[in-house]
Symmetry: C2
Subunit: 386 residues, 2 copies
């Protein structure tokens, strides 16, 4: 019998968090939900508390924490609040594994707290690596912490690197669905509405990441993430558009051999892989049936229509605070787009302008990375409304 793994799920009220809890339910007794943390959705967290009986919970939003206290009443778990509360959950002494699934830059502090506490970390918060990948990888190495990717692409690369000598890696090939606008002609893109850009063909995700998928900025941010997670030069990370999202990503070796990981488009696969590593769980998800799918297609990404991904390579070249600024600028620009305050193609333009305006500094702290991201976000807000 395997020992029950004690989980903290940060961002449990979000899409990844909810799917992680589904994995817990499908694998009776394999995991214990020791701690949960959410942002603002007190009602959803209250429901999760009733079902999973964690020992401690946190809400980033103090008002939501108060609501949660009212909903739960006495006799329930300890309820913390604020970023400090979420960080305390991440570092809780009774937790073995932290699923870092807080959305956006807000996730960085709790990821850092989990690493400092020496927890095994499942990394679903992209911004942790994008804003401060270099710092976090150094701290993880110092603490002997395994950072397990949860993004389907990075999980695929992790699985395709297993058992093969790193010295023989030639390229990482990140696959991209191409998003909901892949086939939209260039001249129609400026008029694309948020509703249209939110219709992702394969993955059900949050709004921000779905828009990032439409602009291909998401793939750019994943390039940055891969650069740090796998300690590989950016020029050796390529993107290939693969609309069916079945090949989750690939590794090309020096002899031309390519190892790939494939699966149905269901985030419970990579989530459970990180949660159970080095085990694999039987989730009874529908198996991949390539004969029924019939075909997988591939095409190069189009930087003319979707230039956002190229900015990620530029941000990495700039280095230091560059990627954090790009991430913040994108948060600001996407929020503006979703609020109807700018057009679709303006997102990448604004990001580029902000990156151009930034004077990068070497990165030495998480707080500095967050400040750079916040600067990028505000710069984007300002430029959007011009």
């Amino acid at each position: 019998m395997k020992r029950t793994k004690r989980l903290a799920i940060l961002g449990s009220t979000g899409s990844i968090g909810a799917q992680a809890l589904d994995v817990v339910q499908r694998t009776h007794g394999r995991f214990e939900v020791t701690a949960l943390a959410g942002g603002k959705n007190a009602h959803k967290l209250a429901e999760q508390v009733r079902r999973f009986q964690p020992r401690v919970v946190a809400m980033a939003d103090a008002a939501a924490a108060r609501t949660l206290r009212e909903l739960i009443g006495s006799g329930g778990p300890e309820i913390l609040d604020g970023d400090e509360g979420v960080a305390a959950v991440a570092a809780h002494p009774e937790v073995d594994f932290v699923l870092a699934a807080v959305a956006g830059g807000a996730g960085l502090r709790s990821t850092a707290a989990a690493i400092e506490a020496g927890k095994q970390v499942g990394l679903a918060n992209k911004e942790s690596m994008v804003l401060a990948g270099e710092l976090l990888m150094a701290r993880a190495a110092a603490k002997g912490v395994a950072l397990l990717p949860v993004d389907s692409e990075h999980s695929a690369i992790f699985q395709s690197l297993a058992g093969h000598e790193r010295a023989y890696v030639r390229r990482l090939l990140l696959t991209a669905s191409g998003g909901p606008l892949r086939t939209v002609p260039a001249d129609e893109l400026p008029a694309v509405t948020p509703a249209r850009a939110l219709k992702h063909p394969n993955w059900s995700m949050g709004d921000k990441i779905t828009i990032d998928s439409a602009t291909l900025m998401n793939k750019g941010l994943e390039v940055i993430e891969a650069r740090w997670l796998f300690d590989i030069e950016p020029r050796r990370i390529d993107i290939v558009v693969h609309p069916e999202s079945i090949v989750h990503s690939m590794v090309e070796y020096v002899d031309g051999s390519v190892v790939a990981q494939l699966g149905v488009s269901d985030m419970r696969g990579p989530i459970s892989y990180a949660m159970a590593f080095p085990e694999r769980l039987q989730l009874d998800l529908p198996p991949l049936d390539l004969s029924r799918l019939g075909r997988l297609t591939f095409e190069p990404p189009d930087p003319a229509r979707f230039p956002a991904f190229t900015l990620a390579y530029r941000a990495l070249e700039i280095g230091g605070t560059g990627p954090a600024v790009l991430s913040g600028a994108d948060e600001g620009a996407v929020a503006a787009f979703l609020a109807g305050r700018c057009g679709f193609t303006r997102i990448a333009q604004v990001c580029e302008e902000v990156l151009d305006a930034h004077v990068a500094e070497p990165l030495h702290s998480v707080e500095q990375a967050l400040a750079a991201s916040e600067w990028g976000r505000r710069q984007a807000e300002r430029r959007v409304t011009r």
Copy 2:
């Protein structure tokens, strides 16, 4: 610097052997060709002797060995002959790695000799595993010998298993090109000529294996090979037709994750992987460009038009001498087809009849396996000409 690996190439005058020598030439100094063995083609072996200066060579055919002695003259390598000569080459004390690339059942004795001599073996002779997989795997385990697959499919599975726990394997998925007759309607198959069946779309191989590819018997024999090489139950080995031959094979794990190995259709990839294992060599072959390929397609195998592969599962169920008899029957039937003595669809029918007529025995020696195969071959010859 890596130590020069000393090779014996058995079947050097064949297609796989010649490609292995090309790998040697592309990786200056990495390998030394210590020994070569061929069947009948004395002129080709003489040319290889001049170029690679081996210390010992053998020809299975005694007359060909005499011709070779005349061609080479004095001062050249020691020249052995007969099956014993080839086996002596396989067991030569100065050899580190034996590439077992003799075609057909004839390869079994020399593979066994290499294993008994404790050599690392690159296994390109399918029949070794088909005829006597259970025996050879037990001997390899006893001798601590690594058997490295050279078939592109088995190399792909080997690469897709690396670094992953065997306990979590759900299925092996062997890909099949479908061969040159994949799209030919059932009613046209009986009249297919050898010339038509020999036109393989992706791979340039010997005649026997190309016909086996057209009947899908080749895939059946690979199922048998995989069953022993990877010690997995036949019901957990599936076949997927994949006409582009880019995905060389796959492993499905219990969590639904599929790990695959891909590459261009060039046998120098898997040959070099086995030769250099655990290293990977830079061969400067054209890289895989999925965006340029555009699409990969998949379909189930059609047992109605191509029933031969189903016989492999039956032979495994029969056990003992069953697979050896099937392999021999196929050799006999394919030879008859190539000689114009039977129709295309008759190949699988004859194999089935021979398998039905066989009273299997438990397998306890290589000689017994060879005798069973020879019985199958003669039975097929007899039935074909009826």
